[in-house]
Subunit: 222 residues, 2 copies
DNA sequence: ATTAATATTTAGGCTATCCTAAATATTTGC
DNA sequence: GCAAATATTTAGGATAGCCTAAATATTAAT
């Protein structure tokens, strides 16, 4: 059984090497200030983590996650983000309040719990901050989802989430035929209020206010 | 901030002195075997707990919860049981599976979380094992709820819960006009299958199978 | 009431985790 | 390419828990 402390270190290393090249090593310096602890503690923990084969550690160079470490990190991130969705969508916490509680909930050990929570939440793919939730196998999209307002005219993308569980927004969207997975294209941007005219699933068209577009997260087709 | 270990001790002392007289002292012996630890560890922890004023401790006599300790214990029990309801009613875990996970969840610190969870679950008063859930002020009924099958003819009681979130049972009950708070009296017990004939709220009467009565929890009027 | 049995505490150690200060490597500036 | 600045590790020590074995209290039995 792993201590909370070990899990915190692993998650921090993952976070700090997000988007960096493979085998990116995190220095004790950077990790210590991220975790608000001393470099000495990090140095010591690096040895312990290397022992347990969670990281590859070269003294004076820093640590990088091993496959085993990355798997643990991603499962923590998955739990963290699923709990954030729960707190926001089911308990009505604001997106800015969910982090600290999820920080504790992510350490609950139960594979079955995670599985059932995922199903209960209807298999969400993004959390209330717009970050992707790794799937059960640990896969996670590389880019961060961006709001529909950042899609330029002619751009084609897929809806991956909505940044608010406000039921009015959701009902507006379902009324217009927009949901998770909907493929859309920006046809034009109207003058004055910047409303978007969209083509949905290459068929119908719909108009959506700037305010609504800000809360819709998309993943652009490459 | 309190450690998980301290919380476990406090909860164990509460559990072991449940139903006993006020100021009932729990011996190191009993507590050690309950927590599967050594008596020496308990003895040591007793000193720490007494220091922090969670217990009154007389060496060689054992420890009893102080008001502060009792308050902490009850808040842990409350969280534990609320999470059990969540796991059972919302995530579909069997009542026998919920304990171990709730054991971890009860240590999550957030007053607001507990409050919102309580509301989300619609302020339940019993957990999936039929135990009462302390309210936000820490009040908890003394007796355990018992199944309707244990109410004798002529006995009057109030429905305090249902031991299964099986929606078929719930819809059967609402169809018959039985819900939380319904006051009922056993008019007769039918031969052969032990079905109960009940008087509801001193007005209508209803018949209920033994199988259904087993899952309905009541609190007898004194 | 004294001894035998039982319960409890103390002593002495262990590990994980943290800390500060000192020692050692590495990097950078000239 | 060496000295100064910076980064990293090691040394030494603290605390919370846990353990076993030894010492001490209490209780029970004759």
């Amino acid at each position: 059984m792993l201590s909370q402390s070990i899990e915190d270190y692993i998650k921090a290393i993952w976070t700090l090497s997000e988007g960096k090249e493979d085998k990116y090593a995190v220095s004790t310096n950077v990790l210590a200030s991220h975790l608000m602890t001393s470099q000495a503690s990090v140095s010591e923990m690096y040895k312990r983590l290397a022992d347990k084969e969670f990281i590859d550690y070269i003294p004076y160079q820093g640590g990088s996650l091993s496959p085993k470490g990355r798997q643990l990190a991603v499962s923590l991130i998955r739990k963290h983000r699923l709990w954030e969705v729960f707190l926001h969508a089911k308990l009505g916490f604001g997106w800015e309040e969910v982090h600290d509680i999820a920080e504790q909930l992510e350490h609950i050990h139960s594979h079955e719990l995670t599985k059932r929570l995922d199903a209960f939440l209807d298999y969400p793919s993004i959390d209330p901050h717009g970050d992707y939730i790794p799937d059960a196998e640990g896969n996670i999209p590389k880019q961060r989802a961006k709001p529909l307002t950042e899609l330029t005219i002619g751009g084609v993308a897929k809806v991956v989430g909505v940044l608010d569980s406000n039921s009015k927004l959701l009902s507006l969207l379902s009324q217009k035929g927009i949901g998770l997975g909907t493929s859309l294209c920006v046809q034009s941007i109207l003058p004055f209020d910047d409303s978007r005219v969209l083509t949905l699933n290459e068929k119908q068209s719909a108009e959506l206010s700037y305010k609504a577009c800000e809360l819709i997260l998309i993943q652009e087709n490459r």
